[in-house]
């Protein structure tokens, strides 16, 4: 008797349900682990941070992200660690690993989405759109992408307008200066990408990746501006230390003491703040 009533009720519910407005976001992942600083920044920029349950070590912006549990370094994920926060979606930058860990997470029927990496305008916009699609908020993503695109265009115009006719300004990205040895950013790096976005030219594009540079190569590169990450502690390089380096001192940048320091994640992350970084760099290039 009671069973029959139950069944009838269920049937009625099944018939009525499709007629009711679908509860919004019922299908979208609600417990997200965000891996990679730029991906996390995009989630925050989209205003979807309430759905984050954990982050990785490289996710440090905005500061409130520090309150989330840290599941470790992107390439050294611990499968059980990730499972312990009960995620429904793992959203990650390119290169998450080790492969065994990723395999296990997929096996545990957790959605695993890798966002492609890249160091140009298109890559930033693609990342934003892709993240917003996965989160089920494509309109917000389109809005953010067009804002960032407009800001990038503005940044690109700064140098063009103020110094038309003169050769493009050369920028040397200095990653570190441990023991007086200059580590510079060559081609195919995030540093190279941001220099292009700002309308400059990488002064040392002859090699890939970040490599130590000999003194002669620095003089040969003849940068007009030195670009660095803003850092504290032991890794901070003061203007005195930088421009007392004999090779750097003899470059155009050394003569005019032109150096720009920008927060590392903002400068090299290729996320929503890339336009801001490009604008700052462009002003430095145009003004110097």
């Amino acid at each position: 008797m009671r069973l029959a009533t139950c069944r009838r009720l269920t049937l009625t519910a099944l018939l009525v349900l499709p007629l009711l407005p679908a509860p919004s976001r019922a299908e979208e992942p609600q417990r997200i682990v965000s891996i990679g600083g730029s991906v996390t920044e995009i989630v925050y920029a989209l205003g979807e941070e309430d759905r984050l349950v954990a982050r990785d070590t490289t996710s440090t912006y905005p500061p409130e992200v520090a309150a989330l549990p840290d599941i470790g370094y992107i390439r050294q994920l611990s499968p059980e660690g990730v499972l312990s926060v009960n995620p429904t979606l793992v959203l990650t930058e390119e290169g998450a690993g080790p492969p065994e860990a990723v395999e296990l997470l997929k096996e545990a029927s957790i959605e695993f989405v890798e966002i492609p990496e890249g160091y140009d305008r298109a890559a930033v916009l693609t990342k934003i759109r892709r993240v917003s699609e996965v989160l089920g908020v494509p309109e917000k993503g389109e809005q953010l992408a067009s804002d960032v695109a407009a800001a990038l265009d503005d940044a690109g115009r700064i140098v063009g307008e103020e110094s038309s006719g003169t050769p493009p300004r050369r920028v040397l990205f200095v990653l570190s200066m441990q023991g007086g040895r200059v580590m510079a950013g060559g081609a195919n790096t995030a540093a190279d990408g941001i220099i292009r976005l700002a309308g400059g030219v990488n002064a040392v594009a002859g090699f890939d990746g970040y490599k130590p540079l000999s003194d002669e190569a620095i003089i040969e590169a003849a940068p007009d501006v030195i670009l660095m990450m803003a850092r504290g502690g032991d890794l901070a390089v003061s203007d005195e230390a930088l421009f007392s380096h004999p090779a750097i001192a003899s470059t155009p940048a050394g003569e005019t003491r032109a150096v720009l320091r920008i927060d590392g994640m903002k400068l090299l992350g290729f996320g929503p703040r890339t336009a801001e970084a490009a604008t700052e760099l462009a002003h430095a290039l145009a003004g110097g």
């Binding site: 390439r75 611990s78 059980e80 926060v85 970040y210």
Partner: protein, 355 residues
């Protein structure tokens, strides 16, 4: 550690003591194995899962993956790696009659390191088909090939007229390690930032990548080495008197040396290939046991294997729970816990060191 008995330094027959120690160590291994299955970042409970299993209920998918696909292969890998490193250390110390001998001395670690670095830095250069075929197995395979290659080379260098000179092997090992380090340095220069981080993590060791496929691939080698090792114990005991004396005692010295080197290369090569560079176990475990139960290899080799396995499992439990949900590389844990502990034992028992 439970294995240290106050009467351990007394001169005399300590076989009874060694046997009792074996029982204590076996119990320790059981405790460590249970902890390794029961402790982890997620709240999955082993007793609850076992109760479900016994009652014939379905264990939920998440718990099954965590217990069977994450913790269980990790337990087996940890046991085999810990035992391999400790036994290899004990064999090498016996072979070289040198308390400082560890796998680094015969070029195993350096060779494995070069293999791993090559896989990390040059792996991307492989033609697509080959890279796809090897996949994530590339690094363990190259690490293992590297360790075998360098040990074989060293063995050839040190062997003349059917006689392997242990002294040449020691010195040759240092030269070979320097050359390997130079190649590794070259590759490190070529590496990008991400690869450098991978390298750093590899050198600190981890059991985090333990999966069934990796465990099963490396297991036969480590098991074969571990099961063969006890057969070396009489020979190593005789060798403690010197090569000539061992020869006169009827020990086939050359065969003993070859056997010992093959065992070490197989055990350490396979262990390093799947877990990276885990230091300290190979040198400290055999010394602890020598202090406790004496230098007789018959007991030492077996006990080293059991204690090495237990210690590595316990270190792994710490490494995965101390910064959960992240994980601390296990090499840091073994060094932080083991270094001071070993020093304390040394200082306490300075007078009774027997190698």
């Amino acid at each position: 550690m439970v294995a240290i008995h106050p009467e351990g330094h007394l001169v005399g027959d300590r076989r009874g003591l060694a046997r009792r120690t074996s029982w204590v160590l076996a119990a320790l291994l059981l405790v460590a194995a249970y902890a390794s299955l029961a402790v982890g970042a997620s709240g999955v409970s082993l007793p609850a899962a076992l109760a479900d299993l016994l009652a014939g209920r379905e264990i939920d998918a998440r718990a099954r993956i965590i217990l069977l696909d994450i913790r269980l292969p990790r337990l087996l890998t940890g046991m085999m790696v810990g035992a391999s490193l400790a036994v290899a250390g004990a064999v090498l110390q016996g072979l070289f009659r040198n308390p400082l001998a560890d796998p680094g001395l015969v070029g195993v670690s350096a060779g494995a390191g070069l293999g791993a670095i090559s896989a990390i830095v040059l792996g991307g250069l492989l033609p697509g088909g080959l890279a796809g075929l090897l996949g994530s197995a590339l690094m363990p395979v190259l690490a293992f090939a590297g360790s075998w290659l360098s040990v074989s080379l060293l063995y050839v260098i040190a062997t003349r007229g059917g006689h392997t000179s242990v002294a040449t092997m020691l010195l040759g090992g240092i030269a070979l390690a320097a050359m390997t380090a130079a190649f590794s340095g070259l590759l490190i220069y070529m590496a990008d930032d991400q690869q450098l981080r991978d390298l750093t993590f590899w050198s600190l060791g981890s059991l985090a990548g333990a999966s069934w496929s990796k465990t099963l691939a490396a297991a036969p080698l480590m098991l074969a080495a571990l099961l063969t090792a006890p057969a070396l114990s009489r020979g190593l005991n005789a060798l403690a008197l010197g090569e000539a004396a061992a020869h006169h005692l009827g020990i086939p010295v050359q065969r003993l040396k070859t056997g010992a080197i093959v065992v070490v290369a197989a055990a350490v090569g396979a262990a390093t290939a799947i877990s990276g560079g885990i230091g300290f176990v190979g040198i400290v475990v055999p010394h602890l046991l020598r202090l406790a139960t004496g230098p007789d290899h018959r007991a030492l080799l077996v006990n080293s294997g059991v204690l090495g396995a237990s210690l590595l499992l316990l270190a792994d439990v710490v490494s995965r729970s101390i910064v959960a949900p992240s994980e601390l590389p296990i090499g840091i844990v073994t060094a932080v816990i083991g270094g001071p502990f070993f020093l304390w034992i040394l200082l306490r028992r300075r007078g009774s060191l027997e190698i």
